[in-house]
């Protein structure tokens, strides 16, 4: 990643992070404030519900007490045959505006039921379980109706005339009208779930208008309250439609949860405020990022220009221009770096020149040493021969002719040897450019190996040619490649003075060819391998040290690669890749 891009990203991230953090803090505080306000509103709503609940309860108690105190109730209590009062409860309930009213005899049998007239004679055992209903306030109870079950606020009073007793149980249904009587502030709503069925029933969740919408979403909350019997909190929907519900259990006289009061708080205001804050934050962040881009563009341009120049100069150095320098315009860290760079390239140039000089001297020394070594061998016989001829002429004139004939013969042979040595040096010096034409390397290897057959037999070397029939003709100079291969074979023969195995292999590699020459000679050390292709370097007691240098030169002229694998005591393999 470019430095400029990186700097730009850092600026942008820094601005965005700062804005995000501010937004987070403000949003968090706003949320907390809303939650506090919501808690206060819920408390107020719960208080209102409790007041209304108790007010209605007291009203029901008064009404039921009034019925129980009436002369009609005493008359019913006194009458053994209550069949004449079948519709009495209905009449009384209608008069006293009660939804539910039952007149029950002392044995628990219903005399008259306003809500279910047909139930006369059936027993209301629960009324008998309470020894004295007089001090009891109104309570919640699940009441069965002919076609449904409902939740009602009930009160019970008794009429006692002598030994005769009559229970008056009356109340009102806890329905949407009750919920509608609660005044909920803006953004709040009150729902009532009447726990009438064994499982959650959406129809039993009502608000002031009737069955509540999306009742299914509140099911988990209602079930939680029913199960745990205590207050719970939950949120339904998301976004601006999100609503937090405080759910409170409404318990009956047996402490069973008969209903759940749900006070819903719309989170629309909070969501809208948060959305507004988020919008503002996004605008600020985008503006900040744009400004960061402009600023970072300007700043990075100032910072990266000298760095870029340094990079360009370093690139030139890498390309071989060791004398490349950087223009120094500042005195800051970048300027110091440029100055150091210039010093470095200057040093590099000087060191290279010194190295070249040293290498040149070393090469000349090596050449001189090699030449001296090569020339010294033939010169010594020449000197001996000439001295013998002089001695024979002075001391043995009669044998001079014979000595002269033998001496000139030796002189000519040694001169020929000198000429051959000088020719090899000359050949290396004037290596011609290769003339490329398709060469079948399998044939080239076969012909070369045939030339060495006698020599190999004499050296007790077993030779094998492993040729890949898939090898196709590769552009090369056949003469130079033959020469290179001969050098490698000769090198292998020299490496196996006591005999061994020579393997020459070809292998098709893509459109090119791989040529390998392996011997089972004494091998080379890693250090020897490194210097193997240096001109005039040799590990042999005889030779010019030019053979492998010529091979490398040929391969290099063919744009190929040569490598050597060798292990001391096991042998050496030369590998040439062409094409």
């Amino acid at each position: 990643m470019m430095f400029r891009t990186r700097l730009l990203l850092i600026f942008a991230v820094a601005v965005a992070a700062a804005v995000g953090m501010v937004e987070l803090i403000v949003s968090s505080r706003a949320r907390r404030a809303f939650e506090n306000m919501e808690a206060r509103r819920v408390d107020a709503m719960v208080r209102q519900f409790d007041q209304e609940f108790h007010r209605r309860g007291e009203e029901i108690v008064r009404t039921v007490q009034g019925i129980a105190d009436s002369a009609r109730a005493r008359e019913i209590a006194l009458t053994p045959d209550a069949s004449a009062y079948l519709s009495e409860a209905g009449t009384l309930a209608s008069t006293d505006r009660l939804d539910l009213l039952e007149l029950v005899a002392g044995d628990g049998a219903i005399v008259s039921s306003a809500q279910w007239q047909a139930r006369f004679g059936y027993k209301e055992e629960w009324l008998l379980s309470e020894p004295d209903w007089q001090p009891r306030t109104a309570f919640l109870r699940r009441e069965e109706l002919p076609d449904a079950v409902t939740l009602a606020l009930l009160a019970v009073r008794t009429v006692s005339v002598g030994e005769m007793k009559l229970y008056v149980a009356g109340g009102r249904v806890l329905d949407r009208e009750f919920i509608a009587s609660l005044v909920a502030p803006q953004g709040m709503r009150v729902l009532l779930y009447r726990n009438l069925a064994p499982a959650f029933s959406p129809a039993d969740l009502i608000d002031g208008n009737g069955p509540a919408e999306s009742a299914g979403q509140l099911r988990p909350l209602v079930e939680q309250v029913e199960k745990q019997g205590k207050e719970a909190l939950g949120t339904v929907c998301t976004g601006v439609t999100a609503e937090t519900f405080h759910a409170l259990p409404l318990k009956g006289s047996g402490n069973e949860v008969l209903g759940v009061l749900l006070i819903g708080n719309s989170r629309r205001d909070l969501m809208e405020l948060e959305a507004s804050m988020l919008r503002t934050a996004v605008i600020v962040a985008v503006t900040g990022i744009l400004m960061a881009i402009v600023l970072s563009w300007w700043a990075t341009a100032r910072i990266t220009r000298p760095v870029r120049r340094l990079a360009e100069s370093a690139g030139r150095v890498a390309a071989g221009n060791w004398g490349a320098t950087v223009e120094i315009a500042t005195t800051d860290e970048i300027g110091q770096l440029a100055r150091a760079f210039n010093r470095m390239t200057h040093e590099l140039v000087e060191q290279r020149e010194r190295l070249v000089q040293a290498e040149r001297v070393a090469a000349w020394r090596e050449l001189a040493r090699r030449l001296a070594h090569e020339l010294k061998n033939p010169l010594f016989p020449l000197q001996i021969t000439v001295e013998n001829m002089q001695r024979a002429r002075d001391s043995y004139p009669d044998q001079f002719d014979e000595v002269f004939r033998e001496g000139t013969s030796t002189l000519l042979a040694e001169l020929s040897n000198l000429k051959q040595i000088i020719g090899r040096f000359s050949d290396f010096a004037k290596m011609p450019a290769p003339e490329m034409q398709p060469v079948n390397f399998n044939e080239l290897v076969t012909e070369t190996m045939r030339l060495f057959e006698a020599q190999l037999v004499k050296a007790n070397i077993r030779a094998s040619a492993q040729l890949d029939p898939a090898v196709r003709p590769v552009p090369a100079d056949a003469e130079q490649m033959t020469r290179a291969l001969r050098n490698l074979v000769l090198n292998a023969i020299d490496a196996m003075p006591g005999g061994g195995t020579l393997a020459v292999r070809t292998k098709a590699v893509g459109a090119g060819v791989r040529l390998e020459v392996s011997d089972t000679g004494q091998g080379l050390t890693p250090e020897e391998c490194e210097r193997l292709f240096t001109p005039y370097y040799t590990t042999k007691t005889h030779g010019t040290g030019l053979g492998l240098a010529i091979v490398q030169s040929v391969v290099s002229d063919h744009k190929g690669r040569i490598a050597v694998d060798s292990e001391k005591g096991k042998g050496t393999t030369f590998r040439i890749d062409l094409g």
């Binding site: 069949s83 004449a84 007239q117 047909a118 006369f120 004679g121």
Partner: protein, 330 residues
């Protein structure tokens, strides 16, 4: 002595007034209302001493005094009968003086003042449940028959009118009606229902007469105790079982049984030559619980203060207008 004369004079005057008050008065029209609406004058039956002068089918009939009646001309000039009037409307009309004689419902009986005259016949109507073809499982029908608490219906809803019965014909006709069981047995009903799939336990019930809705509701409640799901529906609905009333128009058992069987769509019973055969025929009709008899009911009529004489019906439930007259009171 003068004082004694004065007392005697007063007694004589009171006797004369009383005699004048109880003496039948000729003239006037008797306004009668009834629930039923006989399809024809023949089905209605012309009251003794009167002739039919107006017939508006299903709505109104007017009978005029027959000047040449065998027993002499009736006191009334005419009897104007409004048909197909609900019990509630009849009660209101009686209260408002728009009717002189009306049928009384059990709830009206509870509210009757002592001064109002009430006549009732022998039990001449049968209230029963009649199953339609959908309920094919006899166990459901039997379970419902066993679930019904006829005593509560009779004593409270019907204000002890008529007789609880498990027979098609009333006791006073056959003498053996008591032999047909009518007691509820919830445990047995529950045992019968236990072997029935829940889907087959649902039954719809309709009361032909809205006045009997309370009885239908009670039957629904009793059925629930036996784990039958009975729902009361509108009379117009094609219900599985209907709560019906039918009049028993004959006092002799064979004719009465044939009439009831025809009314309920049962097979015509064979002609019985003795009470044993009659009993067997009736029991045979009740096999399978296609019809569940509940109560035999009398006709009950109440009269306004204007009506004198009577009674208005015979023990067999026939009209008797020839012994009535009306008094116009201020």
């Amino acid at each position: 002595m003068d004082k004694l004369k004065h007392v005697l004079l007063c007694i004589l005057t009171l006797a004369l007034v009383a005699a004048a008050a109880t003496r039948p008065r000729y003239g006037g029209t008797l306004r009668v209302e009834m629930r039923e609406s006989p399809p024809s004058p023949e089905a209605f039956g012309v009251p003794r001493g009167f002739v039919l002068t107006t017939w508006e089918a299903g709505h109104r009939a007017v009978f005029t005094a027959d000047e040449n009646a065998p027993g002499g001309r009736p006191y009334l000039d005419a009897v104007d009968i409004q048909m197909a009037r609900s019990l509630r409307d009849q009660s209101v009309d009686l209260e408002l003086g728009k009717a002189d004689v009306v049928e009384l419902s059990p709830s009206e009986l509870r509210r009757q003042s002592a001064s109002r005259r009430v006549w009732s016949s022998s039990p001449v109507r049968l209230m029963a449940l009649v199953f339609g073809p959908r309920i094919t499982d006899p166990r459901v029908r039997e379970a419902l028959a066993l679930a019904i608490d006829r005593t509560a219906i009779h004593s409270v809803l019907l204000q002890r009118q008529g007789e609880i019965s498990g027979a098609l014909l009333p006791q006073w006709i056959t003498g053996y009606a008591f032999a047909f069981g009518a007691a509820a047995d919830i445990a047995k009903a529950q045992a019968l229902v236990a072997g029935i799939a829940p889907a087959d336990r649902t039954v719809t019930l309709a009361a032909d007469d809205p006045a009997n809705r309370g009885i239908a509701d009670r039957i629904q409640l009793n059925a629930r105790d036996a784990h039958l799901a009975v729902s009361v529906v509108q009379a117009t609905t094609n219900a599985d079982v209907r709560l019906v009333e039918t009049r028993i128009p004959f006092a002799d058992a064979p004719h009465a049984l044939a009439s009831v069987a025809a009314a309920f769509g049962l097979n015509e019973p064979p002609a019985a030559r003795n009470p044993e055969e009659q009993y067997a025929a009736e029991r045979n009709l009740l096999e399978g619980f296609r019809v569940i008899p509940l109560v035999h009911l009398p006709d009950v009529y109440g009269a306004g203060l204007r009506v004198q004489g009577g009674p208005v019906i015979t023990p067999l439930g026939e009209w008797r207008f020839d012994s009535l007259w009306v008094e116009d009171r201020p």
